[in-house]
């Protein structure tokens, strides 16, 4: 190492260090660029395809579209969904399988969307809610169909 490179090393090092300090100094004095989002007060808009949890939409008459076919249960890779069916006698007097309870284990769900794809009647969909933390694990086991709800007319 010659004396010349020794000193040019020192000066180039100091220059590059000062360059870095200018950048952080700029950020320190310019607060407009702060990218932190104040979460509970300000909730950022979620992308359209964000998947938070599985829900079953009901219409105004407390009717859902689930026939209890268990296609979603079979499609689920984690065993998140358990469907309990019951025998029901419909208007025509025929015995028919119908949905009793749609049990959804949120704590097992990976939001993979396979159940929604598998559903033949579009009875379930993904919601955008994501604040799922609770104190008891049991409250993550949810029943998706509302009490007393029925199958919508014309869905087979």
């Amino acid at each position: 190492m010659t004396l010349k490179t020794y000193f040019s090393n020192i000066f180039s090092t100091i220059r590059s260090l000062l360059k870095g300090m200018r950048r952080t100094g700029y950020y320190f004095t310019h607060h407009k660029e702060i990218i932190t989002q104040q979460y509970p007060e300000y909730k950022p808009p979620l992308p359209e395809r964000f998947r938070g949890e599985v829900v079953m939409p009901h219409n105004a008459d407390n009717e859902h579209k689930c026939t209890g076919c268990t296609a979603c249960e079979l499609a689920c890779p984690n065993g998140t969904i358990k469907i309990v069916t019951k025998q029901e006698i419909n208007a025509a007097g025929k015995k028919k399988k119908a949905l009793d309870t749609f049990v959804y284990h949120l704590e097992l769900c990976t939001m993979c969307n396979l159940c929604i794809v598998a559903c033949p009647t579009d009875a379930i969909e993904m919601a955008q809610s994501f604040e799922h933390s609770v104190f008891d694990r049991n409250s993550l086991i949810k029943t998706l169909n509302e009490p007393g709800s029925k199958l919508e007319e014309g869905i087979e």
């Binding site: 020192i10 260090l17 870095g20 300090m21 950048r23 952080t24 100094g25 950020y27 320190f28 607060h31 660029e33 702060i34 990218i35 932190t36 104040q38």
Partner: protein, 336 residues
Amino acid sequence: MALFLEFVIAGLLCIGLFAILGLVLVLMERKVSAYMQIRLGPNRVGPKGALQTLADTLKLLSKEGLTPRGADRFLFNLAPFVAMIGTMLLLAPIPFAKGFQLWDINIGVLYISAVSSLAVISILLAGWASNNKYSLLGAMRSGAQIVSYELSAGLSIIAIVVLTGSLSISDIIASQADGWWIFKGHLPVWIAFVTFIIAVTAETNRAPFDLAEAESELTAGFHTEYSGMKFALFFLAEYINIFIVCAIGAILFFGGWMPFHIGNWEGFNRIMDYIPSSVWFFGKTFFLIFVIMWFRWTFPRLRIDQLLNLEWKYLLPISMVNVLLITLVAILGWHF
């Protein structure tokens, strides 16, 4: 009796200063780092997050102090106290304002550089007693680092001692009544100042020289095994050490509590004298602390070989030549 009362008051003030400085500096560090990284930093506890460190302290107080199995129990518990006592001793000769100094010892800066070598003992103690290989590695690194950077820190202190002709801190400040050394001393003093800042950053184990506690490689180095209040003592000692080295830097190069004077502008100097000397002292010290924090949040960590290269191939030769230059300046009276 009066002497005893004086002791008690001084002791209480020291402990109070410790606690307040710890809280303020940690908060400052977190805020500075946040703004430099385009973040907001703590802003929930108290107005603008001002009470965050108080909450942290409460958390640390309520935590369990563990001692790992196979650790040397006596030395393990001793180490944080050695760190703390070493730091407390350093407060003695620092003048916080005009005539406000615990102990105006006539070897001031020598005392500082002597007692600050206790810090390395506490780190080596902690590293060995933890019975943990990360701690031991961290302690070894930090020992090598502190021992080597003490040289150039000492040499840059000597530069100012040569100009002043005294080791006493009050003499050093008095010599800067007509202008701080950083303005009076030309380029050599600037070189000494830059060397000093780099060396003390390394001596206090701060980034970019934080190899001793590199979180990502050594999981916090020598204080890996410490928890609760024992960890808090190390943490506090580290921050107070930063304050002390910055105070020394302010005393040596920026005139301590001396107000800013320009030649013979009587009016301007008069106005500067109205600002209390303690404000001058703390202003300069906190400016230097800010610079050191600025380093930390800008530069990446050095490797151990780069660290030792920097000291032995660059800082030490440069500061040795610089001491010669300063001596020349002092003998020929080239400074103002």
